[in-house]
């Protein structure tokens, strides 16, 4: 197991001390390090040939039954050997994954990953056995990204399970997984996955180098890592895609992207990403291509709507009343007659309450949550209208905007859009449609200058112009997507044979 550990535990103890042949000395050292660690167990026993041995493990992290059966038992029953070295012992033990360590550091690090270690008196090395097993959540359907058709497996908190989920999908030795440890206190394991023949070398190197530069106390969630390795922290848009679904990850890997799995969180990160990738849902690919295209277009429209609809409403009603068809204008005028607020203030009020409601709804327990959010929204809207605080068209606008923001498949982009709504609203209230357009222009400028791990964020008309729009503007049938996108190596651009189009035999020969 390669180890790219980058930082040291700030403990005033020299971890690089070697393991001494004197068991008592080792034991003293370990006691010092593991002082007050109630779950660390140092179990002395005697091997079959009379030597003292010490078994150290963290209870709760290791499989105790296995430990007793596979490690202790053979050792206790062991008879005197000619070669009493640890390596000889190791060969005799029925454990499939073990290795030797020579420094205390390795022992400790192995210990805290659930690998018990064995020290034998007289040997200047220890044996680290992989018997990691702990209570974990089973493989569940991903909660934030469910689909109608498609696999219902989602990542869990256990890195090994996640790795197995990925391996089950990419059964090729080309699919590489490199491990790193990040975080001084948390010592979180991070796995960088990529397909060697497809992903660009520069990308993988970049990811690894950025990860290795992280020097922080702890990493609890992939978001922590995301913040530390992304290109632009000030941008409201995420530059890494976070997902719970292994099939999404596998698809991205096949396009030449790299993936990060972090222990302790089901959310994996995919780099690089683009705006269009963030607006895609796996559902697009599991339904028929026409539905995929239409739904995709609907999603783009509603993405724009979520961003711009309240601003459009405010701008048109306040500055460009001539744009509204006369009949509609008259009815809006009637409904706005008794409203005390100007359109902008009304819009801000409603939008802010809606956001508060939605955020509150996330925190509530499941049984109460859905009822409160639906009823709350309806009742609040109705009551506000009846009280004469807001006009009915405004409630409609806010409701539609809310629905539109739910259409965005990835929560991170959804949140950005919801937040960006407000400055655009202010601009629209200040300068009407001109303000709105300037806001849009500013946004586009920002997106156009944004890069995610070297790939432009708005990759649209890149190499293989025809390919790009096949997957962004429409969802071309899979037999038509013969080329990999620009994120992959240029040399390996073909991903399938061009003869994949189904041509069923006609009846009657």
């Amino acid at each position: 197991m390669a180890d790219y550990s980058s930082s040291s535990i700030p403990v005033p103890f020299d971890m690089d001390r070697p393991i001494l042949p004197d068991l008592e000395a080792n034991r003293a050292a370990l006691n010092e390090v593991l002082n007050d660690c109630a779950d660390a167990v140092l179990h002395p026993f005697a091997t079959g040939d009379g030597r003292a041995a010490l078994l150290i493990y963290i209870c709760g992290l290791s499989d105790k039954a296995q430990l007793e059966k596979m490690a202790m038992e053979p050792l206790i029953r062991m008879s005197s050997e000619a070669d009493g070295s640890l390596s000889a012992i190791a060969r005799k033990l029925p454990i499939a994954d073990l290795h030797e360590a020579t420094a205390i550091r390795e022992l400790i690090e192995g210990l805290f990953v659930g690998m018990p270690c064995l020290l034998v008196d007289g040997q200047a090395c220890g044996l680290i056995m992989n018997m990691a097993d702990w209570e974990k959540r089973g493989i569940d359907e991903p909660m934030a990204e469910s689909v109608v058709r498609g696999p219902r497996e989602g990542f869990g908190e256990s890195l090994d399970v996640n790795m197995s989920l990925m391996r089950r999908r990419l059964r090729t030795p080309d699919f590489k997984m490199k491990t790193m440890t990040v975080g001084r206190l948390t010592r979180t394991r991070v796995v960088v996955c990529y397909i060697q023949s497809v992903a660009k070398d520069s990308l993988v190197q970049e990811v690894l180098s950025r990860l290795s530069r992280i020097d922080t106390d702890g990493v609890l969630e992939s978001a922590n890592i995301e913040e530390l390795i992304q290109d632009s922290t000030l941008s409201p848009f995420p530059q890494l895609l976070s997902t719970e679904r292994p099939d999404v990850c596998a698809a991205s890997l096949m396009e030449g992207k790299a993936m990060l799995m972090i222990e302790g969180t089901p959310f994996a990160l995919i780099a690089p990403t683009s705006l269009f990738a963030l607006l895609q849902s796996p559902e697009d690919y599991y339904q028929r291509f026409m539905m995929g295209t239409v739904i995709r277009w609907l999603r783009y429209t509603f993405f724009l709507l979520a961003l711009l609809f309240p601003s459009l409403y405010v701008a048109i009603l306040t500055y460009h009343q001539e744009m509204v068809p006369t009949t509609l204008l008259l009815s809006i005028a009637k409904s706005r007659e008794d409203i005390p607020f100007p359109a902008l203030v009304e819009a801000l009020l409603m939008e802010v309450s809606f956001e508060a409601l939605r955020e509150a709804g996330v925190r509530l327990p499941k049984q109460v949550g859905s009822a409160v959010s639906i009823v709350g929204a309806l009742v609040i809207g109705q009551a506000a209208t009846a009280a004469g605080l807001v006009s009915p068209p405004m409630v409609m606008v806010v409701a539609l905007t809310g629905i539109a923001s739910f259409m965005i498949p990835h929560y991170s982009v959804g949140i950005s859009v919801r937040l960006l709504r407000f400055p655009v609203m202010l601009l629209a209230g200040f300068l009407g449609l001109l303000g709105l357009m300037l806001g849009v222009i500013a946004l586009v400028i920002h997106l156009a200058s944004l890069r995610s791990f070297g790939e432009p964020y708005l990759v649209f008309f890149r190499r293989g112009a025809r390919h790009a729009w096949k997957d962004t503007l429409i969802r071309a049938p899979s037999w038509a997507l013969g080329e990999r996108p620009a994120t992959a190596q240029k040399a390996n651009a073909d991903r399938q044979s061009m003869r994949n189009r189904p041509t069923p035999q006609k009846e009657g020969g």
Partner: protein, 300 residues
């Protein structure tokens, strides 16, 4: 580069002239845009706000680099095209092709005169040559041809639309295409949609002005050998100044024209001075001083 060709002094002079030429055109473009937006949509808003907002956004994009401008243009171009086409398509029921007649009723001379006017527009295409260093490979040629063809096609389309709609009375309006957009009424529902034309103006002007600012930025880079972000702001300020200078009614008399030129020379003098003084003063100080100078000149 120009210096290499013409020698130091002449090169600098040519550089300055080039820059001034650009500033003039750029200022005129901004002026046109501000007048259009202000006169037709935002009558009570001070022109400075409209100008400044556009310049701000353009300065932002120039700061981000050429690639950003290109990407933005890539995104906005279909939008502008779509808006244009929607306008044209919605007007088809009201168009009358016989308005094209009589063809060459007054001989070819008026057509030739018209060509000269349009020529002025197309001449500006030569300015995209400054983008050549940023284009990789052989694409420049084809891109150039396609751009000119597309611009020509768009102009033809718009002019024909206006002609078929308004006939010879199109000259009654200052902004015929805007009037055409105001004329749309489809199914009693789609009407009063002239904001589409405003949108296409804003987006198109944005690209134009940002390219112009880029030229100024790079161009002034030649003069003082090193680009600075302040240079962009400087160009903004100057361009805004131009707006003020040209902020005379459209039909200015000759006397006013001289006054214009005078101010023009005066402002350019300030700029030249600033260029010269740039050489020997502390960098941050001098930029502040230049801006202060410009503000004073502006207020006068």
């Amino acid at each position: 580069m120009i210096e290499a060709v013409l020698g130091r002094v002449a090169g600098r002079a040519a550089g300055i002239l080039f820059l001034l030429f650009h500033l003039h055109i750029g200022g005129a473009t901004i002026r046109d845009y501000s007048e259009f937006i202000s006169g037709n949509f935002f009558q009570r808003t001070p022109i400075l706000v409209i100008t400044a907002s556009m310049l701000l956004v353009c300065a932002m994009v120039v700061k981000s680099g050429v690639e950003t401008i290109a990407r933005c243009a890539q995104i906005f171009m279909p939008a502008v095209l779509a808006l244009l086409l929607i306008n044209v398509v919605l007007l088809i029921p009201d168009m009358d092709i016989t308005e094209m007649l009589p063809i060459l009723g007054n001989g070819p001379l008026p057509v030739v005169k018209g060509i000269f006017v349009v020529q002025g527009w197309f001449c500006q295409f030569v300015l995209i040559t400054f983008l050549l260093p940023y284009v990789e490979g052989d694409k420049a040629n084809r891109a150039g041809y396609w751009s000119v063809a597309a611009a020509a096609a768009t102009m033809v389309l718009i002019n024909l639309t206006v002609l078929f709609l308004f006939g010879i009375d199109a000259s009654q309006f200052y902004y015929p295409f805007l009037m055409a957009s105001r004329y749309i009424r489809v199914a009693d529902f789609i009407e009063h949609v002239e904001a589409m034309v405003m949108a296409s103006w804003v987006l198109g002007t944005f690209v134009r002005i940002s390219l112009f600012l880029l030229r100024c930025d790079r161009g002034s880079g030649i003069l003082h050998r090193g680009q600075s972000r302040k240079a962009v702001r400087l160009s903004c300020g100057i361009a805004a100044d131009r707006v003020r200078i040209l902020g005379r009614p459209q039909h200015a008399g000759a006397a006013e024209l001289y006054l214009d030129l005078g101010k023009y020379v005066y402002h350019d003098g300030i700029y030249c001075l600033s260029c010269v003084s740039r050489l020997d003063r502390d960098r941050s100080q001098r930029d502040g001083k230049i801006i202060a100078l410009l503000l004073c000149a502006y207020l006068i």
